[in-house]
Each structure stands twice: as C-alpha cells, then as structure tokens.
Assembly symmetry: C2
Homo-oligomer: 581 residues x 2
C-alpha cells in the first residue's frame, strides 16, 4: 500500500476527551474516529487490525468445530419478555419501535435469540453437543461511554452458544472454548490472565474471564502464585474475623450533628472504623434491601446481586430513601428500620458494641449488638477483597493487577432453555431442557486492550499477527531518484510476501518516522544517506539502533535479515523485560 | 464437515408465507430462518454462502484500490437533518432515542456519515481520488417486507464512496466500480444485465443498476440489442405521438353516475381510452401536484419524482383529497382545479376534444382542450414505457425482461459535500466541494437473487464459487462397514483440497440425495451397490446420469474426474441452454 493514497489521517495533538493512552493513540494514529458518544468509525488502519483479530477468533472457533451463523441485530421484544430480561436489563438496553409500533431491542447479547432459533429444530440428543457462533455488532447504552472502543455503546462481539444433554458434555465444550480463548490470546501476542468471574446479567453457575494485562485496566484482579485468580467482583474472602469477649453494653442514641460519613463518625465519636457498621440501602426486585458491612471494608455489589439472584439491584437514590424512611442516608441504620431485608457481611458477625446510624437526623446509636438490637436475615460474603488478604485456595497473600476483559465463558445450565421452552428428546425418549453454555469475545474491545498493553511514548507497538502492516519502507527523500527507484524495487520485492506500507509521501524523514512509530509498524526499512554505500537500515519498532544491510549486490541478505528480525519481534517479551528492574 | 454434526435443519414442507421460490428454498434448505417480519437469521449454510459472496465483493473492491472501513450502524440525527433527509426518507427510516433522548437512525445508507467523517481530514487535491468501502448491516422499515432476503428490513450491504476534484476523475472511478461489479457477477457465475437506472432518494446525475436475471424478478428491464438497457422506472419514452387536425368542440360537463375508473369512463361514454386524460393528485414537499397522462398509459412515479426533484412525493390519500378538493378521486380533473401544479406527460400534448374528471361528483367534462380549458405548468416524460416501443437509442422495438437488482452505482456530484460543508483545497489554493460517487452492493440480497435464477424443482443449484460445499460424499448405508470406511477415506482425501460435506447420517439414501439436491451442492460422490466392483458414482447437480469411477486400484482417476467435472460445472450455461427451445 502506498501511503500517499492511503486514508490514515494522523494527528499531532492529543484529542480532548481521551482519558487513556489507547484511546488517544487510536485516534491520533488514524485508526478510529468518534461519531457520537461511544460510537466509532473504524478507518482503514483500524478496520485492518479488526479484521485480523476477527480472523484469528473465527479460525479458533472453527478449530473447535463451532459453526458460524449470523443473527439479527434488531430483536423482537417478545423473546426478552419471555426470559424476563426485557425489564431486567434496564436503561442500558437500546430499544426502538418499528413503523407498526412493535418493540425491538438492539441486542446487547443473544441468549434469547439463539434459544428461540434452535428450539423445535434441534430435537435429538444425537445432534448434541453443538455450538454456534457469530461475529456481529452489539449495543449497550452505557450511561457514560468512555475509554474509546473499550467501553463503547456500539461494539463488535464474537458470541457463541453451546447445547448439551449433560453437565459432562457442557464441561467438555467449556474446556474447549477455554483452550481456544487461550490460543487466541497466544496468537494475538499479548500478556494475559484467566480469572474466575462473576456471571452478572448473563447468569449461570461458572464463569471465567480472559483479561489482557494493562496498567490502566478497568478490571482489578486478585491472583496468587498457586494459580488462583479472580476479578475483584468475584474474589472470595478468606479472612477469619477476630472474635471478642467484650461484654455487651447498653445501647445508647447519641447526637452526631451533621456527621454522616464513616470517617466523620469515627473522628467525632473517637472510635475506630472497624467499630462502625456501614449501612447501605438497595432497591431490589422485591423491595428494599439493607446491606451491612464493617466500616473499614468496601461492599461488593456484584456479590450482593449474585447472592440475591437479582441483577436489577441498584443503590437507593437519596431522595427516594428520604421519602420512604424519613431519614437522610448518612443516618440510616439497622436498629428500628422496617420493611427491609437485612443482609450482613461476615465481617460483622463477631462485632460487639458497634456504632450504626440512628434512623433520625444527626443521631447515631452506640453500643449496638447483634440479635439483641436488631436481626440479620442472611449472612453472606459481600465484601471486596483487597491485596495481601489470604488466598482462598492456599492462604498466601493475594496479589493485585489490572486487566481489560476481552473474553468471558459461562456455564448457563438450563436458565434460558427452561424459560423459552427449548427441549430435546433424550435417548430414553424423555424431553429435557438443553443444558447451555455461552462464550463471548469482545472483538473491537481487543483492539483497544492491546494498545493499552503495548505502547510507548511514541505510539502503538503492534504484535506482528495483527499489525496493520508488518513492514514500512521509508525513503528519506522523494526528490532523489535513486532512493525512490530502490524503494520501489524493495516494495515490489516484499509486497507479495509481507503486508507492506510504502511511505512514498513527499514529506520530511522525521515526519515519516513519527507516523511509522505512532501507527506501530513492527519493522522499518529506511533508505537514507547510507544508500551511497549501497546500504539500507532496518529496525524493529522498539529497537534503539538500526542495523545496516548491504543491498549493492543482491537483496538476499535483506530478505534474510527481515525474516529474522520479524521472527524475533515480540513486543510482549520486550515489555515484560523492561518492566522488571 | 460431517453432516451428522452440522446444523442444517432441512424441511420437506413448503413454508407458509413464502411467495417466491428462492425464499422457499432458502428456508427449506436450512439457510435462513425468519425472526420477525423482514428480519432473518443466517444458519451455517446461509452464513457460509454469504461469507463467500462477501469475500468476492471485498476482493474486487481491494483490486480497484478501495479501502475498507467500518462505519456505525446507529447514526446521529443531526447529520441527516443537515442534508435534509431526516424528514425526506419517510417512515422507511428506523429511528430510536438513546437514554439521553438523543435521536439516532439505523442507517439505511451512509452518504451523510462518510461525508462527515472525511470532512476536515481529507483536505488536499493531492489525496484525491480516494474511495472507501464497508460491508455492514443496513435498515429499511419496509411497509410490507417480502420475498425473504430480497426485500428485508435488516440486510447486509457493501457500500462505497469516492471523492474527486473533477468530473473526469469521478468518471474514471465510476468506470472502475462498473468493471468491478461486472467482475463480481462473472465470479458469482450468474446471468446478468447492466441497466440505466433512476437515482431515487440517493440523488445525483447518473446511475446504473446491476441486475441478476430471474423469472420473478422485482425489476422490469427494457433492453435492446443495440446495447440500451434501463429499468422501467428509468426507461425513456421515444414514442412520437400522433397529431390531429380535429377541430376543437365546445367543452361540456356530462353526467357519469358512479363512473370512476378509466375503463368505466371509456365504456360509459363509448370512447377510446386514448381520448381520456387520467388525472392523479400527489402530495409534494411544496403542495399538491396534478399529474396528467393519456388514459391508456401508466404514470411513472419515479420519473415524476426525479422531474420535481422531490423524493418525498406520494400519491394523495382519497380522504385527504376529498377534504381538500371536495371531490372523490374518480372525478378529479384539471379543469377548474385550484392551487395545484399541473405536470403533463408528452402523451397528451397533441390530444384534442378529450375527457377529464368534472371536479364534481358523477360528472366528467367532454371535448376538453389544452390551453383553452386549462393550463399545463410543465410537460415532461412521466410515462411508463412498455415492450415493443421504439428503443430511445436506435428505434428498434424494446424487449422486456425481469431482474433482481444487486448493485447500483451513482454519480452524486456535490449534493452531499455542499450540504455538509465538505471541502478540499484545489491546486490553485481555492476550496471546493468534493465531487462524489457512491456504489452499493446488496450482499444478502445476492444470496436470494442467485437462488431465484438458479434452481429447479429439486432445489438450489449453486455456482461452484459460492456453493456452501463443492462436493457431497454419500454412502448409501452407514451399516456396511466397507462403504463407511471407503467414504471416510475419500472424505479425508478430498477435504483439504475442496469444500466437502460428508453425509455420515444414519438415514436412507433417498433422504440424503434429496437434501443434497435441495442444498444445491455441485457434485455428488456416491458409494452404493457398485462398490462391490470397486466403483463409486459421481454426478453434477443438474446431470441426469452419473458416471462410474473405478477406485479399486487407486484414487487417481477419481481425483482427475472430480476436478474435470467441477471445472465443466456451470449452472448458468446449463440454464441458458434449457431455456432456449
């Protein structure tokens, strides 16, 4: 490809609304352009990388025998009403009406759709197991889209669904997808981690996430050398909370004027945060829920949602809480509160004589005790784990790292097949609901995640397999006929074997080098001053110094060196080696 | 691929709502399934063919240097408001609001979008010409979706857009796309016609359509051996209308009780239809338009829209006409009508003493004459041409054929660049609006169009390049170990070189043959009774008799014969030869 005819508008300036490096670089490098908040156009460079990612994902799907299909983006409301998710999904679901006033959604996912498609047509256990996948646009109306393609409202996903007649068969297929996802990440050439994950709105029993490590990743992962790794939403608590022999004092309501936060309460009452119980009100499908946790810990909403099997759960709005309970949120507490379900984290089980909100403006209770002063409906692990806590598997201190989720696999069980009446006939003649699995991969998200992991001050550093071009040929001047002729020769020599960009623009060498670094092309072939001695220079994207290659007699040596360089090129290893001190 | 594990649910019964053969066969063959009216899922077979079509289209685009991009499906309203098409497009445009109440459309096309993307970033004449394409979903909320994927509400298009600094440059690129589209059709292996076309809602000066010939095509094409070919919407009239020396009689209003249609009027008044002028009221952007045409001709609304440069034009509703004019539509006429613009077809220019509606219930005027009794604002060619009329190029009688439009190319000129302020800097330093072209290809529509052309009573007959599988291997029994072993051997022998389906199902030979014919696989390799003598049978999809091939000593002969058969396979030629008598 000749750069002079290629549509790759690069920018020198940092765009306004880019919070993270990958977003900035993809825009500056001319890979993407914003059309609306969270809605992007992929320009030729971005599309080229996307297609390479897509092809790797497609090949790995085909390798495990998954069959490609293409489902509609606009999905009729009825199937979502049947599963109960039409309302559950909330405002993140984009909805529209057609000209006949029928409701549709721009699908955020396709469990209802695939189950509806196969029901009545996939009938016999003999056809099982089977898995189907598609690569298509998905929609999620994020309240605050950000981070470019990492959290967009329109995005490209590979989603796959599998159907089984036994848990063993589901487990086997789950393992196949797990392995395929690892293969994808290996082929992409990035540093990654597989973690236990929360199942969220998709539901089901088991789930793993495939995370690309990155300094500014959206996910926090806790892991241990023993092999345990989980997202912060999922990571289990293994802390043993101290017991105490403290005598129960008499409960007392005290003045705490304008003292609302845990920190304020601790300071005002001259006590430790671990002597205070934090009370948080949530709206669930079945009414109000009060969640309690020790004041120095953070509540894990994902765990609470999972415990309650209610993905619609949201933190109560201050106005609504005031209207319902007649108290500001800072003074909410479990003593005397009515018509709420109380869920407490294990961290408060052994607490004695603690502080809670007074259910009255500017008041707190002190010397509160469980059972005597109020009752807990359920104890559960609803706490955010933190670095250094004991690993739930081996007890060693947990480590923390950031990651960007690009893939997730789920064991769904019969959740959707039962709700949508999708049954098969088993060997014994009985009809049974399909046991299902589902497997998502964020194709457009992968683009952003890789840049977030692999970049430096000058731009992106693409792994070879998905680089928009493998090689860029740069003559330092287009005025010198000899340089241009040789550059053309080398371009013609390389372009059938490699994905080559020939920077034939009438621009300064500095300008061209900057663009090549920004775009992140693995290898440069530079025709400059050394050409007087018949030499070109070659250099990997992250190398400081270039290597001279003599082309005065033949191109054999150049071809050999290029192949060598490209084979040794590995940005992942390069980054890991500079990370270590 | 093993058929036992392949998701291809075939049906014996003809589905209910399929009006044409391609729709029926694609459903019966397990290629597509309906999700909602005009919204389809592509099952593995359908997806496989779609991807093959898509790849041919992509390659031909890349061959002419067009660069692939990917634009959003959800487009912000603002850009459509700027071009004026937000309202123009009418109820066919699917619209939605996001959670912040901002308006979006599910793009029916992307002229506004591409122009907005390149403006301010494509700046210099040096970068021109350039063309960008994408392959993506499009949406059109058809009032009555029908014919399966031929007229769907969600469909896959390749759309391309080019930018130029001169008409010559536009013409060159237009020619390149024209040629690329011919290449696509050649590679698809179908019989086609390129015709002059109306520009419709897209606008611009020139346009050609690429039509796949089919008995039940939606488009009517008039063509001539001299090379002229145009859609019925576009085909120009070359009829010279008779002049007459008739004296003008006195106009007279006569009773025509309950006589409304042209046929009724002719019968009742004992006159010829060519002595009656048909009056049709349309609503335009600027008010009512009365279109007049000779009673024995049909009005061409596309021509009227083009003449008025108003794609919003619609035939007036009877109720609204009655409210506005106080007359039923059967009695509308040009004499005495107020506040309408009158456009007349050339066919009435030379008429004398004709009949028109009386603008009063149960009345018609007779002996009406132009200029004396009413005035025409404009004469124009707004007539549907018909078979046998003189070709506008050479005068020979026009022939008629049906086709299905799969591609269309347009010279847009500066329509969109001016409205959306997309300018470049010319060599002389002046800024000018881009001259644009646009080029659409219906990818999912092609799937239906090909089946509509290439099928017989037994099913589809896919051209080799896009067949879901090239070869199907059928052992007539799965009980005989020898047959199965040989079938496996042949499958392993062929599957790396060809796209092979191995029908390993435990089913009757008749069942398997029917499915193979329905799905339309070019070549069958059958292992049956002849295997006793070491022979398999091979047969092309449309052949009556199979050929025996000895495999007792080696597979060399089989491999050679298969390659020969597949090379000679050409359903297009086969159909053309049976069409001729």
């Amino acid at each position: 490809m000749r750069m002079s005819k290629y549509y790759a508008p690069t920018l020198k300036e940092v765009p306004n609304d880019t919070e993270i490096k990958s977003h900035e670089l993809l825009i500056r490098g001319g890979f993407i352009r914003k059309t609306a908040s969270g809605v992007y156009t992929y320009l030729p460079l971005g599309t080229k990388v996307l297609k390479k990612i897509e092809n790797i994902v497609r090949e790995e799907m085909e390798n495990i025998g998954s069959q490609e299909i293409l489902m509609p983006i606009i999905q009729p409301a009825e199937i979502w009403q049947k599963s109960g998710r039409w309302d559950d999904y909330g405002p993140e679901m984009m909805k529209l009406k057609d000209r006949h006033d029928r409701d549709f959604t721009l699908g955020p996912t396709h469990e209802e759709m695939i189950t509806t498609i196969i029901k009545n047509e996939l009938r016999s256990y003999k056809q099982l197991p089977i898995s189907l996948f598609q690569i298509a646009n998905k929609y999620r109306d994020e309240i605050r889209p950000r981070f470019g393609v990492l959290r967009a409202r329109e995005f490209i996903m590979k989603d796959a669904y599998s159907f089984h007649d036994s848990e063993e068969s589901l487990n086997e297929t789950y393992e196949k997808f797990y392995k395929a996802y690892e293969n994808i990440l290996e082929r992409l050439g990035v540093d990654y981690l597989v973690v236990e994950a929360d199942t969220g709105a998709i539901g089901g029993s088991n789930s793993h996430e495939f995370q690309i490590k990155a300094e500014y990743g959206e996910s926090t992962i806790y892991y241990c050398d023993c092999g345990y790794a989980a997202t912060d939403e999922r990571a289990e608590s293994n802390v043993v909370f101290d017991t105490t022999n403290e005598k129960e004092n008499n409960i007392n309501k005290v003045d705490t004027p304008n003292v609302k936060t845990i920190d304020d309460v601790a300071t005002f009452l001259k006590t430790d945060k671990n002597k205070i119980v934090k009370s948080l009100l949530f709206k669930s499908r079945e009414g109000w829920v009060l969640a309690l946790i020790r004041g120095d810990y953070e509540l894990n909403i994902a765990k609470l949602k999972t415990f309650l099997s209610d993905q619609t759960l949201t933190l109560g709005e201050p106005d609504e809480i005031y209207k319902t309970f007649g108290v500001e949120i800072g003074f909410i507490g479990p003593v005397g509160i009515k018509n709420v379900k109380i869920i407490a984290d294990h961290s408060i089980k052994n607490m004695k004589n603690f502080v809670v909100g007074g259910m009255e403006k500017d008041k707190h209770y002190i010397n509160v005790n469980l059972n005597r002063d109020f009752k807990i409906d359920y104890f559960a692990d609803i706490r955010m784990v933190s670095k250094g806590e004991p690993c739930p598997k081996c007890g060693d201190p947990l480590k923390e790292i950031k990651g960007i989720e690009v893939g997730q696999v789920f064991k769904l069980g019969t959740k959707y097949s039962e709700k949508l009446n999708a049954y098969y006939t088993a060997e014994n003649g009985k009809t049974k609901p399909f046991i299902m699995g589902c497997y998502g991969w964020g194709v457009s998200r992968t683009l952003g995640a890789i840049v977030e992991q692999l970049h430096d001050d000058y731009g992106m550093i693409w792994p070879r397999n998905i680089a928009p071009f493998e090689i860029v040929i740069i003559p330092v001047s287009t005025k010198q006929k000899e340089l241009v002729d040789k550059a053309e020769e080398i371009y013609n020599l390389l372009k059938d074997k490699y994905d080559v960009l020939y920077d034939d623009r009438d621009a300064s060498p500095g300008f061209k080098f900057k663009d090549a670094d920004l775009i992140g092309i693995p290898l440069k072939v530079v025709l400059g001053k050394k050409m007087k001695n018949g030499k070109v220079e070659i250099k990997l994207r992250y190398e400081k110094n270039s290597q001279e290659v003599d082309i005065s007699k033949s191109y054999d040596d150049l071809l050999k060196k290029i192949e060598q360089k490209l084979n040794e090129y590995d940005p992942k290893i390069y980054f890991n080696s500079i990370d270590k001190d």
